[in-house]
């Protein structure tokens, strides 16, 4: 049986950085999965772009939970996909977060590209200061995705691994 789940590249930060990029993504897979474990003492949000496109070609919708409540919204055209939308505590420095980002049919030049991701942020013991949710993002481009940018104030120790998944 052929291997259908392969690591493409891994980044582990040895110092702080404002962007993590995966470039020259091979076109030999069907889908992509990005497992992202960020550390960020600065907190706040982070952003995803494809092919370094900074135009207003993205939309996203989400449902999130944060301590005592929920949030949900649909987005209008913007220049990025928000990684932790609707949250006030977002990333945190003490506890690493976990993001599971799935990008389907990334080489299909007939369709706009969707990404679906879930995220988990448990910031303290006792069930407080935690959040999570689901985000669906769309990049209105028929270009194949050849690079991914993750933008925020990342700390040393942040890791990101991009996997390729083949249908056969």
């Amino acid at each position: 049986m052929p291997t259908t789940y392969e690591p493409i590249a891994t980044t582990t930060l040895n110092s702080s950085a404002s962007s993590i990029s995966f470039s020259s993504i091979p076109s030999t897979y069907t889908d992509l999965k990005l497992i992202f474990v960020p550390l960020s003492a600065a907190g706040g949000n982070f952003y995803i772009r494809f092919n370094s496109d900074t135009g207003n070609n993205y939309t996203y919708s989400y449902i999130t939970y944060l301590d005592g409540g929920y949030a949900g919204s649909t987005g209008t055209a913007t220049s990025l996909i928000s990684g932790s939308p609707g949250l006030t505590n977002g990333l945190n420095g003490t506890y690493p977060n976990l993001y599971d980002i799935n990008i389907n049919s990334y080489t299909n030049t007939s369709i706009y590209k969707n990404c679906l991701f879930s995220f988990y942020e448990q910031h303290g013991l006792g069930g407080t200061s935690a959040s999570g949710g689901y985000v669906i993002g769309n990049w209105a481009s028929t270009d194949a995705i050849t690079s991914i940018q993750l933008e925020a104030d990342w700390d040393s120790g942040t890791t990101a691994t991009l996997y390729g998944i083949k249908k056969a």
């Binding site: 291997t3 789940y5 392969e6 690591p7 891994t10 497992i35 474990v37 550390l39 449902i63 939970y65 301590d67 005592g68 409540g69 929920y70 003490t94 506890y95 690493p96 977060n97 976990l98 599971d100 879930s118 988990y120 942020e121 448990q122 910031h123 303290g124 013991l125 006792g126 069930g127 407080t128 935690a130 959040s131 999570g132 949710g133 689901y134 120790g157 890791t159 691994t161 996997y163």
Partner: protein
């Protein structure tokens, strides 16, 4: 290229309130636990299932989750003395369809890291009858320990595992 997504161990309990995976090798980057389970508890439609590491009972676990349960949205949160990742599995209550099992995936990232451990739970139960009883949800959890995760314990909140339950532990390598 070596296999990236490999089965480490499996369990098919027919009774008992917990399942343990011990001596987890340290040769992977992340761990994934796939669960299909049902409890013989009869006093409620569902029961919780939660996950602990390293047999730790020092109140280092915490969780917050969002769920839809029988058509109602809710949050669950708390601190677990010996586990977190709380999710719902079906029981053998008379209103629950026979042979119905819940499905769950638990992802444990960087299980060897010297940081605290973040892990996720996603799960669903669909009763598939006119009672319209279902549950689905997602939970964020943390294990406030810098120790490598070398064992995983899975606990039922009520009752015992029934025959047909299965748990598969996979390791994922990033190179």
């Amino acid at each position: 290229m070596p296999s990236t997504y490999s089965l480490i161990a499996s369990a098919t309990p027919t009774t008992g309130t917990s399942v343990s995976f011990t001596s987890i090798p340290d040769t992977y980057t992340d761990l994934v636990l796939k669960i299909s389970a049902r409890s013989n508890y009869t006093s409620g439609y569902i029961t919780t299932l939660y996950v602990g590491f390293n047999n730790n009972s020092s109140n280092l676990f915490s969780y917050l989750g969002m769920y839809a349960l029988g058509g109602t949205l809710g949050l669950l949160s708390g601190a677990g003395g010996n586990g977190a990742g709380d999710l719902y599995m079906p029981t053998e209550n008379s209103n629950i369809t026979s042979n119905l099992f819940g499905s769950a995936e638990i992802y444990i990232s960087n299980y060897k890291a010297s940081t605290y451990k973040q892990f996720s739970s996603n799960y669903c139960v669909e009763n598939n009858n006119t009672a319209n009883y279902y549950a689905l949800g997602t939970t964020s959890s943390a294990f406030g320990s810098t120790s490598t995760v070398s064992s995983i314990e899975v606990y039922l909140g009520d009752g015992n595992f029934v025959s047909g339950s299965s748990l598969y532990l996979y390791g994922i390598k990033n190179s």
